[in-house]
């Protein structure tokens, strides 16, 4: 049975894509204003403002550390401001920080912000950064490993272990694109994609073609988190945090807890189970699966773990269209990193904000009718960890 303590009452988001003239500050301030407006609260009610720091540094990081956000937003009641980061898992660690602050009772309203502008860096700077950040400087980088190499090796291992075909891997990109085509803020909004186009795009790191790899983008979002008590008073449709599960595996993929990379569900599934159990719900209760897998193989490995498909058969399910709009198991309804846009640590934030929108019935054309419960995740590093969260617009124990 869930003992929900925290709820989200509003979100804000800016379009994701390549917008070189839009600074991180503009993104942050805009997303914050939208979230405050959406929540219907006064900005001076906010007692804490948390920002996600960047893994690829910029002036924004420094200003975050020096407390720019509360001043610029004009949050006169702000008592605490901080930057939180754990790479791709930041959307989880920042939320835990928010929960800790709310739990202390010093404030009942926290604003969380993510803003990113990758277009300020040259292509080579980005390639170089993601070659060195995803890989170990001493043991991986000298061998010419990149982030794409990591995902490519995992894909190759996963395909060999499970019998998943490259066509099924490509169909993950297509399913995500179909969702993005319903999302006006997505980088690839109104840009349809076919399996043939994915398979015929330039080979980047065999077996991964260009459309199976991510394009770094500019974007950002924000949300307002409060206690369940306050949420019920000020919001028509709060979204409750019902259950969570976390696990850490490794820094380098060579030290992963699971040796057979086709069976990552052996690590992920118990974590998802913890989240389900804490919520008092199961996979059969989920209306949506908001997965952050970054690459197609990540999507498949996580689907394998969530209890709605037999492990190793996720590729077939995606190929059959069951995770696409109108399918039986909606997965990643904003199009995720591959089609919404890869904003670094922001992918997890975007998935979280989309989760809230879906449960508030504000997801527009991508709305899954009557969505009540969902499970979402984020993960960081070189697939270093996993965090699952079950959310709902009802608290199961009160049904």
């Amino acid at each position: 049975m869930s003992k929900a303590e925290f709820a989200i009452i509003g979100t804000g988001e800016v379009p994701c894509g390549i917008y070189p003239e839009r600074s991180e500050f503009e993104i942050a301030y805009t997303a914050a204003k939208l979230a405050i407006k959406d929540a219907g609260i006064d900005k001076n009610e906010i007692g804490a403002i948390l920002g996600a720091a960047h893994i690829m540094g910029s002036e924004y990081n420094t200003e975050l550390f020096f407390g720019r956000l509360p001043e610029a937003i004009g949050a006169k009641g702000c008592k605490i401001t901080a930057a939180t980061i754990s790479g791709g898992a930041s959307s989880f660690s920042i939320r835990k920080t928010a929960e800790g602050i709310l739990h202390s009772g010093k404030t009942d309203t926290v604003l969380v912000i993510h803003a990113q502008r990758f277009s300020q860096f040259s292509t080579n700077e980005q390639v170089k950064y993601f070659a060195t950040a995803g890989s170990d400087a001493e043991w991986d980088v000298p061998y010419g490993m990149t982030y794409n190499s990591l995902a490519a090796m995992m894909t190759q291992a996963y395909m060999t272990s499970t019998g998943t075909t490259i066509r099924q891997v490509a169909s993950v990109c297509v399913a995500l694109r179909k969702w993005a085509n319903l999302q006006p803020n997505a980088m690839f909004y109104k840009k349809p994609l076919t399996v043939e186009e994915v398979l015929n795009s330039r080979m980047v790191a065999y077996p991964l073609t260009a459309y199976m790899c991510n394009v770094l983008a500019d974007g950002g979002c924000a949300y307002i988190m409060t206690t369940v008590e306050k949420a019920k008073k000020v919001c028509d449709k709060p979204v409750y945090i019902l259950g969570e599960g976390s696990g850490y595996s490794h820094r380098s993929i060579t030290a992963a807890k699971i040796r057979d990379l086709g069976k990552m569900y052996e690590f992920y599934a118990p974590i998802a189970k913890e989240a389900y159990e804490e919520a008092g719900l199961g996979p059969e209760d989920m209306d949506i699966f908001e997965i952050y897998g970054a690459y197609p193989v990540g999507q498949l490995m996580i689907m394998d773990s969530l209890g709605f498909v037999e492990p190793g058969k996720s590729g077939a399910l995606v190929e059959a269209g069951e995770t696409s709009p109108g399918g039986k198991y909606p997965v990643s309804t904003n199009g995720e990193a591959l089609s919404f846009g890869h904003t670094g640590t922001g992918v997890g934030f975007a998935i979280f904000v989309e989760s809230v929108r879906q449960l508030q019935g504000k997801a527009g054309k991508a709305q899954v009718p009557g969505a009540k419960f969902l499970i979402e995740n984020c993960a960081g590093g070189a697939y270093m960890d996993m965090h699952f969260t079950v959310m709902g617009n009802e608290i199961p124990s009160q049904l």
Binding site: A131, E138, S149, M153, Q156
Partner: protein
């Protein structure tokens, strides 16, 4: 593309094309000194027998600092691989295409390395590999792997 073409095309200097080399930590130095002598060394705990690769300050199993560097057999199995063809930093462009792989040593640890001296199309997960030493600079040698000829 060769080095000169890449330099002209992207307006680069020789410095831009210098490959990053491993900078050993205090606790990993013996590995790289061994590689220089064409020996593949692994850090083995003398208290619990655990082998750590990558090595750390102390045994990640029992925290003992009582360790010994043992020479590995140089035999391994290919676990998984990819072939980099595009989207690598400038300094790896002259090497394209090249194979990055997860290699399972007979002694247990898994390593990231390159598979060399073979056509990538002939690679197969589970195939037997043997170590080769690539002297990439006067100071640094990288252990790499090639398929064992049947």
């Amino acid at each position: 593309m060769d080095k000169e073409t890449i330099k002209q095309k992207f307006n680069l200097t020789d410095e831009d094309l210098k490959k990053p080399l491993p900078v050993p930590q205090k606790w990993s130095k013996p590995f790289w000194e061994g590689a220089k002598q064409h020996k593949l060394l692994l850090k083995k705990c003398q208290d619990c027998g655990h082998i750590d690769h990558p090595p750390y300050l102390y045994c990640t199993n029992c925290m003992s600092e009582n360790s010994k560097w043992i020479e590995a057999s140089g035999r391994a199995t290919l676990y998984a691989y990819c072939v980099n063809e595009y989207g690598v930093p400038f300094y790896f462009m002259p090497d394209l295409p090249y194979v990055v792989a997860l290699v399972d040593l007979d002694e247990g640890p898994r390593m990231i390395s390159n598979i060399v001296e073979c056509d990538p199309k002939e690679l197969k997960n589970g195939m037997k590999l043997e170590v080769v030493f690539d002297d990439v600079s006067p100071e640094v040698t990288l252990p790499k792997w090639r398929p064992v000829k049947e």
